[in-house]
Amino acid sequence: MSDLKRGACDMIRPGKMLVQVLQSLFKKSATSQYPFKKSEMPAHYRGKINFHPELCIGCKMCERDCPSNAIKIVKVGDKKFEAQFDLAKCIYCAQCVDSCIKKALESTKEFELAVLDKNKLKVTFCADVKKDTDK
């Protein structure tokens, strides 16, 4: 490429970055002050998966397609299914979201999932919509 060859006005000298470096002293720093300022993820970010039990029909396509066996659909009553997620195994690829025929799964923007107790990484989305708790 022609502009990679050294031209007549390209002097080889030390300290080429001097001007930019001195200008940076007065610019705002590029570091984002996380965790004091939370960072906002883009619209379709693939974070933690959310489950809507009222839409699930129990076909288990999501369980079949999951690359890491992170989701389990369990029948807890007539046409009532609950989803058990292992957040440690999930690779957040959102394949289950695409595989679900009834669109019962969706990706959220939540990504701060680190906990100190490993048991907290197994979340269950209950079948009863009124008491939708994840421990």
Partner: protein, 313 residues
């Protein structure tokens, strides 16, 4: 007697130098970070590092010589602190002075480099040995220009004592302007002494892990780091005493402010050079020092000799 002890221990002795060294490290790291468009560490970072290192265990390798291994940091620390006693900081007389203290100061400042070599050698680990040998090779490259640069203004002032030199330049107000070439050369040589980029070959992190300091940990490493920080302050003070000897007859309060200003100026030049240059290779560094820096230092000496004759001092 009590005043002497106060001077030695507190001000401008050990405690003052320790605090000043830590502040110098903070200013250097903060400027470095801001120039790279980052935020940089808070003001207490060097203190936090020091306290963390002191609270950890010292691990001495089995094959190392334990007495020499433990003694080296102590020698480094004491020699840098002792060197500061002969430098006139903000007035025309240092804490102690005698004819010939110029040479003694420079010798005392060479001892830390020797301790880096010996500490690395007695660690008997491969990376430390390579770092130690590099440290000594670098010593041969920059020591000659440094000595010549410091001697040149002393030649003009016709004395071997730093305090006498400061008095001479305070009487002849604008003579320090003749030494500006030497100022630039002495800053380059100071970079070599303090082992900062582009001269940080002995501690090239990506090539030989930690160089001399690979096997050091805990209190010994804390002492080495503290001695490097104090060496920065002492080296910068020496350069400012020799090359920027103006305003030394002001009142102590203003004098201290001016001294701090001179130190900040020199430290910011050191940080700037750390930012805009890449590291030299060993052979490139030796070639650079012997082919470019030494002849320029010699030129400065010539200038001072000629001026001595011309001005008929």
């Amino acid at each position: 007697m009590l005043i002497s002890i106060f001077n030695l221990l507190v001000f401008p002795g050990i405690i003052f130098l320790g605090v000043a060294g830590m502040s110098a490290e903070f200013i250097d790291r903060k400027l470095y970070a801001r120039m790279q468009n980052r935020t940089g560490p808070p003001w207490f970072q060097p203190w936090a590092d020091f306290i963390k290192l002191v609270s950890k265990e010292d691990v001495v390798p089995t094959e190392a010589n334990p007495r020499m291994f433990r003694a080296m940091p102590i020698f480094a620390l004491t020699s840098t602190i002792t060197a500061s006693f002969y430098i006139p900081l903000w007035s025309t007389h240092a804490l102690y002075s005698f004819n010939g203290d110029l040479i003694v100061t420079i010798y005392l400042l060479t001892i830390p480099t020797l301790t880096y070599f010996l500490g690395g050698w007695y660690s008997t680990s491969l990376y430390s040995k390579i770092g130690a040998i590099r440290s000594l090779t670098q010593l041969f490259a920059y020591e000659v220009p440094l000595l010549m640069c410091i001697l040149a203004p002393a030649l003009l002032a016709n004395t071997w004592s730093l305090s006498e030199m400061a008095k001479f330049y305070s009487h002849h107000h604008w003579y320090w302007m003749f030494n500006l070439l030497g100022f630039a050369i002495s800053l380059i040589a100071l970079l070599g002494k303090l082992e900062k980029v582009p001269f940080d070959i002995p501690e090239a992190e990506t090539e030989i892990v930690g160089g001399t300091f690979t096997e050091y940990s805990g209190r010994l490493l804390a002492m080495f780091k503290l001695s490097i920080n104090i060496e920065t302050i002492v080296g910068a003070s020496l350069v400012s005493a020799v090359y920027l000897p103006f305003g030394l007859q002001l009142t102590p309060a203003l004098g201290i402010l001016l001294y701090v200003g001179k130190l900040l100026f020199i430290i910011s030049i050191l940080s700037l050079s750390r930012t805009i240059f890449a590291r030299f290779r060993m052979d490139q560094m030796v070639e650079f020092c012997w082919k470019i820096v030494s002849p320029l230092a010699f030129l400065q000496m010539l200038i001072c000799l000629i001026l001595k004759g011309v001005l008929a001092i």
